[in-house]
């Protein structure tokens, strides 16, 4: 077996939250603690079990060798030998950045799920932090297992398992702790993603059976789910027989792409996102926007781009076109929003378009810019959703027109919102800029027209954010909110780390780019080689 185990670190990151899930359910099952005790205990367990992966993740980032093109921190053993399924986890630079991101965002979301340090602001009993707490915490941890697993799996079967694991807690988190239309949103999210999963599953099976035969653990030649082996034998798929008259690689590519694109989300598969966001409780929106969307684009890079390079070249213009539509169309839709959270949700759609455009360009600038954009969007969009959560907790509505002049009353909150908005609109010095800049610069030589069209979004984005600031914060203070309370410590603990990250990456994006550079270089070489 090539890629022998070198470290179990990733497995610790992966299974600590799972241990938390088990502990919480076991404790609830035994019923030895009273309800309020159990609530506090499960909160503490969740906090601990999401803090551990973050600490390990920082260690991982610090010790990852960015110069190497090999996967690192591998943990590898046979799992289901009759199918040659392996437990195979390991990271390259892109996965390091996303694993750390998911650990960070999960930890922030966990803090945001605590009713602590409330100061003068009050949370009512229906608030998601107050009811069915152990269940909520268990689901939150399970969600983290699914996300982390997806980013570190190098076995396609394992990848698929974690991809599906993530669905279940998300469904319940939206469906139980969500807003007024939670059932509709949860079902829409679940079914939509599941529809994508089906296509992915079919493609997975096709890739498995048309893939190379390698000796398994039992010494017999087997097909393999090993994504690195699949990647190295990418040429095998070119000679596979056509399906329904379409070239094998193309149809498999499309199946996988739709599966991932739903998650990104890509136009026209994006409408589950605003609904899910609007109904989800704040920390869940944070995770949804911060990490879950990146699973889609990560999957494309890991599977479509790496295993089917020829089909990727074939489809690149279409991907760029769809990315452009995402960017511009969603930006205009943002301009029309009245619900603050929906606006932020659509802005995510717009910003994920940059990722698609950059990946489609197949230039170093474009593709590394796309990865950087994934990471920075993972920092900025959680900030945006936390900020919306703050005002919703206090005012119990999110109607942009329903505020006015709040800057006088809540200056610190205004400053945070301003920072997050400007970071999101790609102001240099804040995280959003370099990713966008690299994507544009990488995409320009390949798709001039699409890049120019996409670049018009810098104007529209500025317009919808500044218009929002103007309507919510500027002008005369709306008398209804003359007692509005500024940020409390819980909110500060979630917002300030992200703000610091946004500023740091704004001036030093090389921190992420240095990780992904060699891996992306290798990927591009293989794509352009055919």
């Amino acid at each position: 077996m090539d890629h022998p185990t070198t470290s179990t670190l990733l497995s610790w990151m992966l299974f600590t939250p799972l241990a938390g899930v088990v502990t919480i359910t076991a404790l609830v099952g035994t019923g030895i603690f009273a309800k309020s005790k159990m609530n506090e205990l499960s909160r503490a367990i969740a906090l601990f079990c999401s803090a551990v992966p973050l600490v390990l993740g920082i260690y991982l980032w610090a010790n990852y060798d960015g110069a190497s093109t090999q996967v690192q921190f591998v943990h590898h053993f046979a799992w289901i030998s009759s199918l040659n399924v392996e437990y195979f986890v390991g990271v390259d630079g892109t996965s390091v950045s996303l694993v750390v991101l998911s650990a960070l965002v999960s930890f922030i979301a966990t803090i945001a799920s605590m009713p602590w340090c409330q100061g003068k602001s009050h949370l009512d009993d229906h608030h998601f932090t107050q009811h069915k707490v152990p269940g909520y915490m268990a689901m939150l941890l399970l969600l983290q297992v699914g996300m982390t697993g997806t980013f570190i799996s190098l076995d396609f079967f394992l990848f698929y398992v974690f991809w599906e694991v993530m669905l279940l807690p998300m469904y319940f988190l939206i469906g139980i702790w969500g807003g007024p239309r939670k059932e509709y949103a949860a079902i829409k999210f679940f079914l939509y993603t599941l529809a994508g999963s089906v296509l992915m599953l079919l493609a997975l099976i096709a890739l498995y059976y048309r893939g190379p035969l390698v000796p398994g653990a039992d010494g017999i030649a087997h097909h393999t789910f090993n994504m690195l082996t699949m990647r190295d034998h990418a040429a095998d798929y070119l000679v596979a027989p056509a399906i329904l008259g379409v070239q094998f690689t193309h149809i498999v590519w499309i199946g996988l792409f739709i599966g991932f694109a739903i998650k990104v989300p890509m136009f026209p598969f994006h409408t589950w996102l605003p609904d899910a966001h609007v109904e989800a409780p704040t920390p869940i929106s944070v995770i949804l926007a911060g990490v879950l969307l990146k699973m889609g684009s990560y999957g494309m890079l890991r599977v479509n781009w790496a295993i089917l390079p020829e089909a990727t070249r074939w489809a690149s213009y279409a991907v760029a076109l769809l990315g452009t539509i995402n960017i511009v169309y969603a930006a205009f839709v943002c301009l029309a929003q009245r619900d603050l959270k929906k606006l932020i949700a659509y802005s995510s759609v717009s910003h994920m378009g940059f990722v698609l455009l950059g990946m489609a360009s197949l230039t170093p600038q474009g593709i590394e810019g796309a990865v950087l954009q994934m990471f920075t969007h993972g920092i900025i969009s959680p900030m945006l959703f936390l900020i919306v959560g703050v005002i919703y907790d206090r005012a119990h509505h999110r109607n942009i027109e329903g505020f006015g002049g709040l800057a006088v009353q809540v200056p610190e909150y205004t400053a945070m919102m301003g920072l997050a908005f400007f970071a999101s609109m790609g102001l240099p010095g804040l995280a959003g800029f370099v990713g966008e800049f690299l994507v544009f610069s990488g995409a320009f030589p390949i798709f001039q027209l699409l890049t120019i069209l996409s670049a018009t979004s810098v104007v529209i984005t500025a317009a919808y954010y500044l218009w929002t600031i103007q309507r919510v914060f500027l002008g005369k203070l709306n008398e209804k909110y003359k007692d509005l309370i500024d940020l409390n410590w819980r909110e500060r603990m979630t917002l300030y780390p992200l703000a610091a990250m946004a500023l740091w990456l704004g001036f030093y994006p090389q921190a992420v780019l240095g990780l992904v550079h060699s891996g992306m270089d290798q990927l591009l070489r293989s794509i352009h080689a055919g």
């Binding site: 409408t271 029309a336 590394e368 320009f444 780019l513 550079h517």
Partner: protein, 760 residues
């Protein structure tokens, strides 16, 4: 020979001090102000500026000690993004051009900080003001000190942000908040152009555009993957060839000295840029055009000037610093910085000069009829920026930059003077309610007068030397071209003539503002002032309605700026008088390699002197006209003229309805488009999703019905049938033996008959 680099790893201190000041005031300002008063707030801000200015002067001393061609200080801080062939570093550099800018910015900004301690004295959000002001200086320094396009763009956008924050400083007034937003969004149009121009440049340096606009990497500098750095760096004669965003590397590649066709030193990049086409257009023209779109945004030129007049909603020191002396000159600076690029395309030069010229005259005419003293100055700034673009557009780079330099002093002086007047008149900005302030505010009046003379081009003030050099060079420009027209030798003299008319206008409306404000009788103070701004930040002299002179920290700044507006003239005394190059031109020479190669036509000395005399005369005429019409505000001619031509006045007073025009062709369509997009999203895209859901549900129901009624129905029917038949057949079981015997008999008979029938 590539530009030698002198490392100076302390340059970062220049922007770091204001950044630190901004950070301190942002984090602690409010608390400090509450606890220790306002002194501590402005001590931080002014202290940061003084420190920064000191380092800037040290840098100047360091640079002054170097040989002219070695004047390039660089401070490489950290790599920001090294991706393929793109090398983006966070690095600062100073060459003579950026040195001039840094000195202007730090010194003028320090003065304006000091002035603000007086002007903003009664402002409750004092700390916020100084936070933004410090942050602005930081961003502006980034803009001019950036070693590459990216750091410049950091500053470029940063100043936009600060401008937004300061224009909407009094944000409780929604109109002011809107002005800030307008400034930012309009500037974003420019930024869009800037970025596209940059990409065009970067990629053209990296390879070729085919006839179908497909890009192919130049194998000399790159591998087969577009944008990868496989074979970098290629060097020729010690000069790095290929894609770059560093100004220094770009300058070396494009320096005319390194691009003389036919010589062995020829690196061929200039030729490559001029011969390459994309979309059927010479790529060099497109690069310059897109970059210039960026410049029109920041420097308020046609068509993107509309934000600047509205930007006067900000506090007056902001108007002086950002919207007159520094930020709005960024576009001029950028064109001058890229002189070697613009010089390659006579067509781009023609466009820059023409836009500058049109803006100069257009804004000047609007300035004629404004009554708000700050609006007059705003349009005058737009107009003067037009002059600067005439300078850098025709290739008189040093003259354009010199006008930027002198303008920084006299326009800051004018704005701060107007601020002093506005404060003295208790937040009155309408000149019709001023008048007679000469006696009440003598220091303000004197400095305002001197600055008016400077802007009007009186030969004893610096403005004359810069403006006249620009117009003189425009007259001698036969080398410009325009798209669609080809070479246009007539363009230079035309620009000169129009510029002269604009100069006349400038003199007229500036002295008009002076006379309306300072001469005659005081016309204000009768009605109770009720300007919205006053309620917010006016705490002084609610009872003293008499105008009064401003405190010393304000008037001393005015005097310093007026003195600078005078003293600057010694740097630009024309060659025709002294026989040697002006000091300012000589200083800038290393930054402007293209300047020596611009084919200006030779003008005889007599003509040159004649042109100067003419321009002084024109300035005097403008002054004279203003004197006749507005001195002591006695003349009734202006009122009668207005009555005679109400329509002309109305059109110009309403700024030719350009705002309304943009509203109709850009904003409204965008607002409609957003509704269309959202409608599509809700009803078509999401409609489809819900439709799929609905179809599935209908199928499911049909399926369910089939299951329930057909499949399960069959099952149930079987059961039912068995039960029912059983129930019915049960009746046979009567318990009477004779019935059974009848049955047996009947059965036997049936069998007999069947046996008989079948076997037969």
């Amino acid at each position: 020979m590539p530009t030698p680099v002198t490392s100076a790893n302390w340059l970062w201190l220049i922007p770091a001090f204001p950044a630190l000041g901004a950070l301190l005031n942002a984090a602690l300002g409010l608390r400090l102000q509450r606890k220790f008063g306002k002194n501590i707030v402005h001590s931080i801000a002014v202290g940061a500026m003084v420190a920064s200015t000191t380092v800037a002067w040290l840098a100047f001393a360091r640079m002054f000690g170097l040989e002219a061609e070695e004047r390039f200080l660089r401070d490489l801080l950290w790599p920001m993004a090294h991706v393929g062939s793109l090398e983006l570093n966070f690095a600062f550099a100073l060459d003579p051009l950026s040195m001039v800018m840094v000195l202007v910015i730090t010194n003028v900004a320090t003065l304006i900080h000091i002035y603000s301690t007086g002007y903003m004295h009664d402002e409750p959000a004092y700390w916020r003001f100084f936070m933004w002001l410090n942050l602005f200086v930081f961003a502006m320094l980034l803009l001019v000190m950036g070693d590459n396009f990216a750091v410049m763009f950091f500053g470029w956008e940063g100043v936009g942000l600060c401008s937004y924050g300061l224009i909407s400083f009094w944000y409780t007034d929604l109109e002011k908040a809107k002005a800030g937003m307008k400034a930012f969004v309009v500037n974003r149009f420019g930024d869009f152009g800037f970025v596209i121009g940059l990409f065009l440049l970067f990629w053209t340096l990296a390879g070729h555009w085919s006839a179908t606009s497909k890009f192919s990497s130049d194998t000399r500098v790159s591998g087969r993957i577009p944008g990868s750095a496989t074979l970098l760096p290629a060097q020729e004669h010690g000069i790095k060839i290929g894609p770059t965003i560093d100004f220094r590397e770009l300058k070396d590649q494009l320096n005319p000295e390194h691009n003389k066709a036919g010589t062995p030193e020829d690196v061929g990049i200039a030729q490559h840029l001029t011969h390459e086409t994309i979309w059927g257009v010479p790529v060099i023209f497109l690069i310059c055009l897109f970059l210039f779109v960026g410049a029109t945004g920041k420097s308020a030129q046609i068509p993107l000037y509309v934000w600047l007049p509205d930007a006067m909603a900000g506090p007056t020191p902001v108007s002086a610093l950002i919207h007159a002396a520094t930020m709005v000159t960024a576009g001029v600076y950028m064109v001058a910085r890229l002189n070697f690029l613009f010089a390659l395309s006579p067509m781009a030069m023609g466009v820059v000069a023409t836009v500058g010229c049109l803006t100069a005259i257009f804004a000047a005419t609007i300035g004629f009829f404004q009554y708000d003293i700050k609006k007059v100055l705003a349009y005058s700034t737009v107009s003067q920026l037009g002059f600067m673009f005439i300078g850098v557009g025709t290739g008189a780079y040093w003259a354009g930059v010199f006008h930027l330099f002198t303008h920084a002093f006299f326009k800051a002086c004018l704005f701060l003077g107007s601020g002093s007047v506005i404060m003295g008149c208790h937040h009155e900005q309408d000149m019709r309610k001023m008048g007679g302030l000469w006696k009440k505010m003598p220091r303000t009046a004197w400095t305002y007068l001197l600055a008016c003379m400077a802007i009007a081009g009186m030969p004893w003030m610096s403005g004359f030397y810069s403006k006249d050099e620009i117009l003189g060079k425009a007259y001698a420009s036969g080398h410009l071209a325009l798209p669609g027209l080809g070479a246009t030798p007539w363009l230079g003299p035309t620009i000169w003539a129009v510029g002269l008319v604009a100069a006349f206008g400038t003199a007229y409306y500036m002295f008009r503002s002076f006379y309306m404000t300072f001469t005659g009788e005081y016309r204000g103070g009768t009605d109770h002032h009720d300007a919205p701004a006053s309620a917010h930040h006016d705490a002084h002299g609610h009872h003293a309605h008499e105008p009064h002179e401003s405190p010393a920290q304000m008037t001393l700044v005015l005097i310093a700026l007026a003195a600078a507006a005078f003293g600057a003239l010694f740097l630009g005394i024309p060659e025709a008088w002294t026989g040697h190059e002006p000091l300012f031109a000589k200083w800038l020479e290393p930054s402007l390699p293209a300047a020596a190669h611009i084919p200006f036509s030779e003008t005889p000395k007599s003509v040159e002197l004649g042109l100067m005399a003419l321009s002084v005369l024109i300035g005097l005429c403008g002054w004279g006209l203003a004197h006749v019409l507005y001195f002591n505000n006695k003349s009734t001619v202006p009122a009668r003229l207005l009555a005679q031509f109400p329509r002309v006045h109305k059109v110009i007073f309403n700024k030719y309805y350009v705002d309304e025009f943009y509203d109709a062709i850009i904003i409204r369509p965008a607002l409609v488009l957003k509704e269309i997009c959202f409608w599509i999203d809700r009803n078509i895209i999401d409609g489809l999703v819900n439709l799929v859901g609905l179809i599935v549900r209908i199928f499911a129901n049909i399926d369910g019905a089939i299951d329930k009624y057909l499949v399960d129905g069959l099952v149930n029917f079987t059961g039912f049938a068995v039960m029912e038949s059983g129930r019915r057949i049960r009746r046979l079981q009567t318990g009477h033996i004779q019935n059974y015997l009848y049955g047996a008999l009947g059965g036997a008979l049936v069998f007999v008959v069947l046996n008989y029938v079948v076997l037969k």
